[in-house]
Amino acid sequence: MSDATTADTAKNPSRPEAVLAADGTPLKKSLNRALRRQKIRALMLIAPLLLFVLISFVAPIGDMLFRSVENQIVSETLPRTVVALKEWDEASGEPPSEQVYQALYRDMFISVERKEHTRVGQRLNYETTGISSLFRKSGRKMDDIAEPYEDLILDVDKGWKTPERWATLYDSAGTSLPAFTSAYEAFVETMTEDGKDPATTKPWEMFYSELYDDIATGDAAGYNGPLSAELAAVTNAVQGFAAPSFADAFTEIEEDWADHEVWGTIKVYAPRFTPGYFLTSIDMQLGPDGIEAQPEEKQIYITLFKRTLIMSLVITGSCILLGYPVAWLLANLPMRVSNLLMILVLLPFWTSLLVRTSAWKVLLQQQGVINDLLVWIGLISDEGRLVMINNATGTIIAMTHILLPFMILPLYSVMQTIPPTYLRAAKSLGATNWTAFWRVYFPQSVPGIGAGSILVFILSIGYYITPEIVGGTKGVFISNRIAYHISSSLNWGLAAALGSILLAVVLLLYWAYDKIVGIDNVKLG
């Protein structure tokens, strides 16, 4: 075998030479050149749409994917706390050390001044309820924590009240006052952002506690600037001062600061990127020991996803059942009649979606037209009126109606291309009407069913308005939950994760469909 191949290649060593155009350039090259103008023109024609799609479709999807894992806010707002917490072992069941509380005090003070503490509180509140109010309430009390230090220093020298004093201190500090320098830099940054002059603005109360800290740790001894005398006076006063504990100060403000669960949450959500939103989307959460199931009463998303998929399948199925005969009629009736029928099929497109859905509400409710009719006929008793709205039934009925044209149109366009002679041929060969339909007509209409099903299924999986109006609690879809997180709870990260999962499910189904049926078997026209 291998002998034969080598012999073959030896016999035919030369490769076919490139074909040349009349002017001697390779044919491929001159063809490419000739086609380039055409390609550029085609590209320019689609450019507006391409840009539009990129800006309005691809970019938002990219942003959504990013948001679903993004978690910068914790580490940006509480940088010192996050670092300090690394040492803390949440498994111990103990609250963290004094250093952590001090770091929290510094971060909180700065973020309160920057008005960012409520946002991070809200973010952490998604994971552990109560943190939002904890942050909000504590924020107001940061000045109280600084107060003993302020009193201590101002008792020594009222000159520390002026912004100039602190500015001079900062300018001359060098590396001798690290805690104060860090606080002052945050001060400058905040003032600059607010458009104020740090040299004339009222100093932060935090400076007193930080200056005390530098003195207490002994760092301040290295200072030898113009304020050495003033600093020495303060250092003297500090000698007899018993600094209060930050931990005690925080737990006094709110008991929850002693709760190790709160600290666990901060620690778990410290990284810049988090799988937390995705885990929440599948009813899991990040615990101190890794991934665990959500508590029973908070598990809703898997149920919603399942419900969305199953109901979309049911809707697609009923669209096939109802749409197939209509499409068949459309394709086989005489032109005049089928045009009229086509108008009826398209009629829903000309009425508002809201109106149609509300109409179903009128029809299906317990005091509605259908129930009244059934009671009047005597099929059901007055007490036994059917519940057809504000549940899954209502959603299925209304959505089947709304999505039906999307099934009928591709089916119709495929059926139109199936010549009636096939059915005649089958019958002439001895097939009954049913066999002829099932063995000959139906297989040829499958591409239409495929196209319609993909369309209806993908549309319904992301449908929002109709389930919202007629779905009640038992008939809402995952999209309603996404909408809730976007507009009410403002948990965009979770909404993005849910949306990403939905997108992944659709792509997965699309892929499976391609494997099983083959995507080139889909005909839309």
């Binding site: 041929a425 002439s428 001895g430 097939a431 063995r439």
Partner: protein, 366 residues
Amino acid sequence: MASDSTNDAFVVFDRVQKSYDGETLVVKDLNLSLPKGEFLTMLGPSGSGKTTCLMMLAGFETATHGEILLDGKPINNIPPHKRGIGMVFQNYALFPHMTVAENLAFPLEVRKMGKSEREAKVKRALDMVQMGEFGGRRPAQLSGGQQQRIALARALVFEPELVLMDEPLGALDKQLREHMQFEITSIAHNLGITTVYVTHDQTEALTMSDRVAVFEDGRIQQLAPPDELYEAPQNSFVAQFIGENNTLEGVVETISNGECTVRVADGSLIDAKPVNVTKPGEKTLISIRPERVEMGKSRLHPDAHTLKAEVLEFIYMGDIFRTRLRVAGRDDFVIKTRNAPDQKRLKPGEQIEIGWLAEDARALDA
């Protein structure tokens, strides 16, 4: 009801009428009977009702009036799938989602035939049309001629006694068409099946059929074997429709003993055989085949009438010469002469004398 001649007939149309819209009759009073094993062709211009007749026979259309008998039994109320009639459609109607073999097995499957028997029959049918290799292909992977053969094999595989073909060769090129004409007739004769074949191509009709029914406007104008149809058309429509034909308008002058004289437009008299005329004074159309026209009197009766003619065009066609003449005021008179060594080649402008045997000029309805 049926007349004596239809007693041994296999297919009978008995006073069949058909209307689609309730206003016009597409098929008018159709009477036709064909014995077992006959190859009958329905020939006629487009829209003359041929397909409609075929569809009524196959069961896809119902006759508005009259009866269709198959093997002596009325079939008006038998659904198409129980009639057991093989059918070849113009566009072949091969099922695109099945392979060739599956297409052929389809009629056997619906008849609940066992697998091994089915396969044997499919193979035999494929071999019959010399397509044994192609069982695994899809129809879309075959050429037009190959699809045609498969369609034929599929119509025959379940061994029907009657096969209907509606312009089956319409989509093929000329050479392939001629080849397939031959193949279809030989298969039909070998199997001894009765065939009703529809075409608008008169050559096809003449070369393939035992008998040809010429359709026009929902009626059979003439039903006869090909040679009779060509040589003895019963009316001017058939004469014009089949083969090339010269016509001269005129009025009957005398009529006796199966011969008549007719005065044509320029006043001269010609001899003809009365077919649709009975008395002097009647208007008539004379039909003469181009190859039956004689130049000069040498082979004619001494007192036969002749006409003066002027040569307008001479076309050399290899085996024959085709000459266009101006005769009796018409300049579309064509004669065909054999390319023999002694045959004169005429030049435009030449004046000649033409004539014919009385029985070759048929005086038909005007």
